[in-house]
Symmetry: C2
Subunit: 462 residues, 2 copies
Amino acid sequence: MSEPQMNDDDSLEDEIELDEPRLRLIQIALDERDQTALDDLLEPLHGADIADILEQISSAERGTLIALWSGHIDGEILSELDESLREEVLDALPAEDVAEAVRELDTDDVVDLIENLDDDDQAVAIMGALNEADRFAVERALSYPEYSAGRLMQREVVVAPSFWTVGQAIDFLRTAEELPEQFYHVILIDPRMRPVGHVTLGKILSTSRDTPLSEIEEESFRTFDATDSETEVAYAFNQYHLISAAVVDEDDRLLGVITIDDAIRILDEEAEEDILRLAGVDAEESISNRTLGVVRRRFPWLFVNLITAILASIVISQFEGIITEIVALAVLMPIIASMGGNAGTQSLTVAVRALATRDLTGANVWRVIRREVIAGGINGMIFAALMAAVGVIWFGSPMLGVVIAVAMVINLVVAGLAGVGIPVVLEKAGIDPALASGAFVTTVTDVVGFFAFLGLAALWLI
Amino acid sequence: MSEPQMNDDDSLEDEIELDEPRLRLIQIALDERDQTALDDLLEPLHGADIADILEQISSAERGTLIALWSGHIDGEILSELDESLREEVLDALPAEDVAEAVRELDTDDVVDLIENLDDDDQAVAIMGALNEADRFAVERALSYPEYSAGRLMQREVVVAPSFWTVGQAIDFLRTAEELPEQFYHVILIDPRMRPVGHVTLGKILSTSRDTPLSEIEEESFRTFDATDSETEVAYAFNQYHLISAAVVDEDDRLLGVITIDDAIRILDEEAEEDILRLAGVDAEESISNRTLGVVRRRFPWLFVNLITAILASIVISQFEGIITEIVALAVLMPIIASMGGNAGTQSLTVAVRALATRDLTGANVWRVIRREVIAGGINGMIFAALMAAVGVIWFGSPMLGVVIAVAMVINLVVAGLAGVGIPVVLEKAGIDPALASGAFVTTVTDVVGFFAFLGLAALWLI
């Protein structure tokens, strides 16, 4: 990114991004408790970067930073901070600093800050710092279910009666006492506070004063119910390129607006959740978790994996006799299982993402399953030929080559089938396919792989 | 999502989203070649939904839809369409429909449409449809490297000299001939066309006419060089909650702007890329790919996996003697390897994402590695105890239990170390850690797992 130019009156500040050299200097300043150096280093940074620093330094350094710099830790930094650290930082901050920080925030950010606090005292303190209108808005938002549009919205909105002209809207905006930090539309309402359309600020600015707002409203206008899920909201923002959208109550009256930054946060969180869940990691895990937290979060998946691995071992144990006779089977069997597991994971990942982005639906599910099965079969045959050659060259047994080849084709076909079929079935059953598919698919490919390979060996090699 | 209310003059349309029942009706209409029904079903939908339909129906249905409805396939639908289908659809559309569709687009969308076309004739036809100014802008954008800010930006900008007042800006906007579809800021420029700041439309609307724009400009203002990578741009939009940002040339003169929708698309693509690459799937793969495309895209990763699996088999073959004597080893050995592979994948996924979001840096890398190793050790000990018990109960050999337990601890510690260490080293070497880490990590855990388990068995059980 280029440094912006200074203009004549010097009103522009250089925008500085956090980089590793600066981070190292900050750590040195913390180590030496050098308040002046710390101010110089932190002052020019964006709140999001300060939050990143708090997440990346050690907890001892974090303590020093808060002690030396608590007056500067504002609402923005707190809302950017990873949830796993918020309570620690809130605890360390003097009560008056927390109160001041919270008062700067839009109500949606206060809701986000407060909703995951385990510590009720902190929540009470934050609510106490708000003025009455904001406190009411936060309480109202918290009355909606978690992960709903009602929790995401901010109460700060800009509205105009639908019969106003551009000029009336501009005059109103010029004299308005309190406007949101950022807003992109004026929402048109009817006399009962129901939103009936919206106008972009660009249109208002480029139209003559006497034009009625209703003449320049956007063609497309979407509202959300406060009880809509945040997943639906984020999907619609992404799909229809929304920048802000009104939220209404059960009587279609305006409650607030959701803006693009909220939607980006949700999209981000959901992609992250899918990535982590596909790898068997708790979606709440973060890089700032402590060791024991990590142990606890990783354990369940590893335990599930242990059970499935034992299942596979039980299959193997059925063939102990033939393994003792032909030890090459023990050498080669992990290859069949591993190829099946990998092919299954490929299909499954594509399917899970296509489900999440709504690209895999009733319209194409059978075509996709057929495609995966055929693709598995074709790749299976290629690898069957390769492995048959390896088997013959390595162990000098053509029949062993045939066994490997057939088992490989079977397992890769099954991998394609299970890789798409299992997530689709889980989704239908209301279970997040990202969470559970991996365990099912690898169990299937392990069991089928070992059974096909050792079973065929028992049939054909003796 | 709630249906918006109709206002009195009926100027609002109901916003209809695509759902499965409607998709089925569309398929029926296509099947029956029922033009009227098709119009009724497709007309109310957003372009992004039409693109989704084209992606989800079969290629025969796609042909019918284009034949019956080509006049309605506009620029928006084309830019929303998955890259894998664009050439097919462009080929099927009459030339004049393509030309008309393309002329509606902002220049950044034309660049996006054109840059991945393999078919030069299509690109030439699209360029030919543009007016001279747009063609020049598109050519200029294409002169910047792929995946750079220069490719992302649109030339349509709204600027004002920095000495103007609010009133002058409003008068200019009211008389401007061509304004971008959507814009969020007025960019302030100096006499040499260098951006020196920007003002939000909300500020312009809420300030009196005689106020100089320089008094209400935003405190923070970031510009990008046209050669900056799109990854950097997307990171900054996400980190600093930007909504639009100016792009400048090497002399700091304004070239265009990048808006939030471009940044969201990049963020989306990059998260998707990480998910797919972690599972060994080509990042370009999509649910609309044909079977042979899928075979070709999946093959390389499966081939890499075959090599690593053979490596593991070679380790096993060194211990053929002891396996023949104690067949329980063949039964149990996949458990050790599988637990190591899963634990390694957990660590690796967390590390790859933390690198992508710049949460894993020089400041915390050693702390994170230490944490992963200790967490691996602790989980290793828990599972060691469990598996030792299984070994003793199943095979009645306490010493076998000890071998399993020690091998488990070793492999889970190694998994933690490799899971973070390998992506960090790859990132330093300039290789995308999402792409290559998986193969390395599972090779390490397979080889170490088999070697530790069978090696300890050879030492202690004979």
